[in-house]
């Protein structure tokens, strides 16, 4: 097991009465591209700002590159690059001036590095930030961060509101950083983008981690099973009852279940059951997994009301 770059245990954060993060546990291994997926308001930004030391948690512990963000935020920010969705840049400075301003915080190679990135991103050095387009501003923020050659990069919704070309530039730099062995953490709700560039994902729903793990493992171990019951009121066969399912949806006599570790033998058994019709199974895409985690699970019709075991309530880890 590689050492974790970010290690979060039992993290909770409350804003007034509003519990935004509930008991979050997260291990982010070194050298991976880790994507935090979640709807708007799921708690992604709060989690990222807590990791960066901008928000103090109510309970739990965080370690980032072995540093505690609460106790030593300055040491942390020297080694971590952070690109927020709305980068705060002094808008009266020109691109060149803001690079000069930032260079004071980092090593002597900063200005030279920035120059390289500015050329690659076609940044107009003499233009004031205030006169830059949104895409150019985002690229300026990215170049400022990349120039410090950080060990860990944290992006909060990096590509939202950007055109496809700038977006591609952002994704390319993430992939390239990963190829150099750096760790990248990004939050997003662009599932397709995440599927390309990330190798680990966590799905955050309602302040909780609903699902996390290696992207390939998640897709390999979870399967969606769909079947119709000949008699919608009957109890299904044991092969169905014993499934390790964590999400269920009912549409008339058709039932769709998300199942972990479905073996080929059990699948064959289910296909051969006479009470079931039209048995289908698919490996879900990340998008389907995402929707699954953010949607309420229904109790299957055979589960009596007093049997209150909630199939959606437990955590899934691959």
């Amino acid at each position: 097991m590689e050492p974790s770059t970010i290690s979060i245990k039992g993290l909770s954060k409350r804003f007034g009465k509003n519990l935004v993060l509930r008991d979050v546990e997260l291990q982010i291994p070194a050298g991976c591209v880790y994507a935090l997926l979640g709807e708007n308001g799921a708690g992604k930004t709060t989690l990222i700002r807590t990791i960066m030391g901008y928000v103090k948690p109510n309970s739990g512990s965080i370690s980032v590159l072995g540093i505690s963000p609460q106790n030593d935020p300055f040491a942390l920010r020297r080694r971590v690059g952070y690109v927020s969705d709305l980068p705060a840049l002094y808008d009266w400075m020109s691109v060149k001036q803001i690079a000069w301003f930032c260079s004071a915080f980092y090593s002597s190679s900063y200005s030279e590095n920035f120059g390289r990135w500015a050329t690659q991103f076609d940044l107009p050095q003499e233009t004031r930030i205030r006169h830059l387009s949104k895409g150019m501003r985002a690229k300026t923020a990215l170049a400022l961060v990349l120039a410090s050659d950080p060990e860990l990069l944290v992006f909060d919704e990096p590509t939202s509101g950007l055109d496809p070309l700038v977006r591609k530039e952002f994704l390319r730099s993430m992939v390239d950083l990963a190829a150099q062995g750096k760790t990248v953490l990004l939050s997003s709700h662009q599932v397709q983008e995440v599927e390309r560039v990330a190798d680990h994902v966590a799905i955050l729903h309602d302040g909780k981690i609903a699902l996390d793990g290696g992207l390939e493992q998640l897709k390999d171990t979870v399967c969606m099973l769909r079947f119709s019951m000949r008699d919608p009121l009957a109890t299904p066969p044991a092969s169905v009852l014993n499934l390790n399912s964590f999400h269920c949806e009912v549409l008339g006599r058709t039932i769709q279940m998300a199942v972990r570790h479905l073996s080929p033998e059990v699948l064959e058994q289910i296909k051969s059951e006479s009470e079931l019709m039209d048995v289908q199974w698919i490996r879900p895409s990340l998008e389907e997994l995402f929707i699954l985690c953010t949607r309420q699970s229904q109790a299957p019709p055979w589960e009596k009301p007093w049997n209150t075991k909630s199939p959606g309530g437990e955590l899934l880890r691959a």
Partner: protein
């Protein structure tokens, strides 16, 4: 070599890379002895996670399509073309199987399916000649 990756088509991304490299070898777009881009280059080129590329290249090495040339990178094996043509036929066979199964499920008789297939084949051969 141009690769087109679609994260949504149900085939894992690493497998899409493996298939497309094999197709390129079978087609002759990639020739034996030719070097393929490094993991980092290809990751940049198609904006896909480098570990995914690494996994695809590993698979291609295991399938003896690519071989490592010390100090230079990965190149297409001398013997790969035959293998890739064969793999391509196997993939095609799999897709045909799916179509046939769907046809049978939809209630077509084997004879009907057969005549449908022959008709399409005839048409395709005609357009090929033109």
């Amino acid at each position: 070599m141009f690769l087109k990756i679609d994260p949504n088509n149900g085939i894992p991304i690493y497998d899409q890379i493996v298939r497309q490299v094999k197709y390129a070898v079978a087609e002759g777009t990639l020739t034996p002895g030719q070097l393929v881009p490094s993991v980092r280059e290809l990751a940049r080129l198609i904006t896909v996670n480098p570990n995914t590329i690494q996994r695809a290249y590993q698979q291609l090495q295991d399938d003896q399509v690519l071989e490592s040339i010390r100090g230079r990178g990965l190149a297409v094996c001398r013997t790969a073309v035959k293998q890739c043509v064969q793999d391509r036929h196997d993939l095609l066979r799999g897709r045909l199987e799916q179509v046939v199964q769907e046809g049978l499920r939809s209630g077509l008789e084997p004879e009907q399916l057969k005549s449908l297939f022959e008709k399409i084949l005839k048409q395709a051969a005609k357009t090929e000649e033109m």
